[in-house]
Symmetry: C2
Subunit: 559 residues, 2 copies
């Protein structure tokens, strides 16, 4: 009797959301499949749902429990939502990592910071080079994106060829790296039929064909040539093609160019060292920039998303590294604002406006292009690869759903597979065969905590409701020793009757303790519940809020 092998796909992150990409492919007998992991990314926290958290990543418990079956980890490109968790999660998997030169260099910087061995990250050349990983043969195919060396993966298996698109756009002239070449992808499909295409869905709702990075050069040159005062421009630090365009436009306008922000300096350095970025104009350090007349100066800075500690936010607050924006200066946002960051970005724009700075943003679409394929571009990819089935990824549910619909208009069967949905690709159509409990891990300070641990839920509750702490000391006879003590945090001092809120609570609690039955006074749980109720009652009555309550009952035994 022969064992039946199957080919499976399992997204653990990035499907049903934009961020923390983590995809698994498996081949072999059921529950004994050999596995490869594609990307280990992070997503970013927000005050609404994850206050105080530093980074969010997929919980890789499913993979940890099957670590001996994992052949390798592949990283498609160096954006944080694809590589950001590598340093944090690698110790749980401890497998070889494969990436192209620039991506591998970024990965090694992360490993250095974390003290992981650097030699587990292997630099791979693009197709036709092949990495053999158990039943998988993997090739990296260059595609344009908004960072150097983004790659699709061709994943060959005994059950057929998979193309995992990674993040991409169809850009024939991306300034940095290889441009879109339809012939390459046509050849991939001609060489061996594509069983399944796992495809970027980010821009499925953008109806017009994407524009090339190269189209920005003229407008940006024109804009900067016409500027009078200092020019400051921001974009994503990893978009080195954009940085080059901006820097060249600055130089062409007779300006000295200074890069501000550690992330940006690091990206340019790594891109130059790995050879992906050449011909970048000379730059000056910030100490020197302070000596340059402002009409001859251009700063290219981090913080396009309003990040509070980045250079853009710093400049909006006043002097930064000796540099200061003034009336008549120009600030160019060569970027789009990611949903959720609007408030932070607008806060900065208004602060700059108060300084008299002229702000140019992407609202007229002239100074920024997206790094993702738009709807017509996705159709080109579908037509070129002619996959037997389509599984959209890198999108929220609405993106995946729309992308499946788009494929179906060309007769390509698809499936909406969100995080945790295991898809069997072995047959003619994708088939969901299992639902894995997926979860998220939070990097919180220096530790990883589970999203469901309740820690963050408690933070949110304290933020919404405030926190009252009541302290009671009981003697060996279960009688109160002294008065109750209430401390408040995040609650008003005075209630609606004009009296101190804590004092009113203390009075109520002390009164209760004097008259409470011995049964309650003896029982920690009952006493806790009773005190909690009193605190909440006073609070609702006085300020109309139910605070979080911590009760500390200290029982003193005579020694």
């Amino acid at each position: 009797m022969s064992v039946k092998n199957r080919l499976i796909y399992l997204p653990l992150g990035g499907a049903g959301e934009i961020g923390m990409n983590c995809y698994v492919y498996g081949y072999g007998p059921e529950d004994r499949e050999r596995l490869i992991v594609v990307d280990l990314g992070v997503t970013f926290p927000d005050m609404d749902t994850t206050p105080g958290v530093d980074l969010i990543m997929a919980d890789v418990k499913w993979l940890e429990e099957r670590a001996e079956r994992i052949e390798a980890i592949f990283i498609t490109h160096a954006h944080e939502d694809h590589i950001g968790a590598l340093g944090h999660l690698w110790p749980r998997l401890k497998k070889r990592v494969y990436a192209r030169r620039f991506t591998a260099a970024i990965g090694r910087l992360k490993f250095e910071e974390q003290g992981h061995p650097l030699d587990v990250i292997h630099t791979v050349e693009p197709r036709p080079a092949v990495i053999e990983a158990g039943p998988f043969s993997v090739q990296f195919v260059p595609l344009a994106h908004s960072i150097p060396e983004s790659s699709a993966l061709i994943i060959d298996t005994p059950a057929g060829r998979i193309v995992h698109s990674g993040d991409f756009k169809l850009d024939p002239t991306p300034i940095v790296g290889e441009g879109w070449d339809e012939a390459t992808f046509a050849a991939i499909a001609a060489e061996r039929p594509v069983k399944a295409l796992m495809c970027d869905s980010t821009n499925i709702f953008s109806p017009l064909p994407g524009r090339s990075e190269a189209t920005l050069a003229d407008p940006i040159h024109g804009l900067i040539a016409g500027a009078g005062g200092m020019v400051v421009a921001t974009t994503f630090a990893s978009n080195v093609a954009r940085l080059k365009t901006l820097a060249e436009a600055g130089r062409a306008a007779g300006r000295s160019v200074c890069l501000l922000g550690r992330a940006m300096q690091r990206m340019v350095k790594v891109a130059q060292e790995t050879g992906v970025l050449t011909g970048f104009p000379p730059t000056i350090p910030s100490e020197q920039a302070t000596e340059v007349p402002r009409q001859n100066l251009m700063l290219i800075v981090t913080g396009s998303q309003g990040e509070r500690r980045a250079a853009t936010a710093q400049l909006s607050r006043g002097k930064y590294l000796g540099l200061e924006m003034k009336e008549g200066d120009m600030f160019l946002f060569s970027s789009k604002t990611i949903p959720g960051n609007e408030r932070d970005v607008l806060r900065i724009m208004n602060a700059l406006s108060e300084m008299g700075v002229d702000i140019v943003d992407d609202s007229n679409g002239r100074y920024h292009v997206s790094g993702h394929a738009n709807r017509p571009d996705l159709e080109v990819m579908h037509q070129t690869l002619k996959p037997q089935m389509l599984i959209p990824m890198h999108g929220e549910h609405r993106h995946l759903r729309e992308h499946v619909k788009l494929g179906e208009t060309r007769g390509i069967p698809g499936e909406i597979a969100t995080n945790g949905m295991m898809v069997d690709l072995s047959g003619d159509k994708p088939e969901i065969v299992e639902y894995i409990d997926t979860a998220r891990l939070y990097l919180d300070g220096s530790v990883l905590i589970g999203a469901m641990d309740g820690v963050i839920r408690d933070r949110i509750r304290m933020a919404l409701n405030g926190h009252a702490m009541v302290n009671v000391i009981l003697d060996e006879d279960d009688s109160a020793l002294g008065e109750a003590w209430v401390e408040l945090m995040g609650l008003p001092e005075v209630g609606k009757h004009g009296q101190g809120l804590a004092e009113m609570m203390e009075t109520e609690v002390s009164g209760f303790l004097e008259t409470a039955s011995a049964k309650i006074m003896r029982d920690d749980d009952k006493l806790d519940e009773a005190l909690r109720r009193i605190i909440r009652q006073v609070s609702v009555e006085e300020i109309g809020k139910k605070p979080e309550v911590t009760v500390v009952v200290s029982r003193l035994a005579v020694e």
Copy 2:
């Protein structure tokens, strides 16, 4: 010697922000000006800056201290950012309130809830009716907006005529209420030259002329006529013109129409009762809607901004009032997402997508129009009124700045006056004469607290850092009685060494108490500081975070 009178303008809210509008005009000798207040609005909280807060409004302390000089309060229209604080702040001012019929009715509902006298709210007719208020003669001039009866105010003073635009658009066919009529405004300027125009700046960055509410009827009718399953549409509850268009489109497509959400039902009721809304199609109650086949049903619901308790969010979570969305239904967002609400709205769209619902939003610009004048419309207003000076309002700093620039291109001197900047309008040009300390009040539960009280700062800190509470009991000799007790909230239970975080803190604190000098043990402040430091040190070491710390030291005296 004659006393010199002056005409002043002082924004207390709404200038340098979009929200919580509150403007003051004064006429008379310096510091003895008689005053009128225009609008008392709120702005809405967010987790980033105001967690747990219910509403935000201008601190009217400056007005309270001058209450005897206030003649009256005028409300331009019934949007919450113009009327929302009336019920909360009126007790501090206790002056007559003037508003048109619909606005006054909404105001009285608020007064009813708060138990204020209803007869202080006076219904006024539009121009040529005049309200005399000390040195001010005020007329309400109808203008189209996205709520019935929005009005500009003509404020005549001995020093000249002011036009306070309120919120407006130039819509000749607004479906509900009076349309834009240039002749009316030309006559206002011809009658008496306009000394100053205080003007809505919301859409200064929208380069094309605004579109009329009436242009939506055809696209919306077409969309709904083509729908198969149940149709649900959301828009702002107060946009009764839009509600009418939506309801008519539903009826035209043979659907029964049901309004869901208390705010929406209330708005339609008040609009009908006050006569501003006529010919609204018949609707059915929700209990009856459950009996209607879905292809014959249309719901018009609250919650276009993703508000968690509104009907849209409820429907996105499952059954609501017996109604449930399903595969093949359509959800229309006939609205735009206000910056800051993107995440909440997208969460709902994705939840609907998971139900198989087709989502139609405003991305193609067919199913929503703004209620504010765009840049070319503002130019028309400038040209029609030909004001001697222009003070932009209802905008963030960047809007005000751009609006001043626009006025200057036509030779109208302007001034950026943000909250607290008192402008003397008496001369030929606006002149800033004083800076008032402005502040915000937070409605938090049932009490108003000051933004700077530290309450909210503490909530934010607990949310970001977690909260550790350490309890220590000392006897009459200042020695520790029993062990220290640490409670954690919003912090992980276990540190990086795998031990309980609270236990490690307790051990450290107990160890410290055993060896601490008598001097420290006697001194509450020193002891507090020392314990705080220990808690933070253990926390930084173990979890890489500095929590908020509350120290409770109970000193027991022998009785």
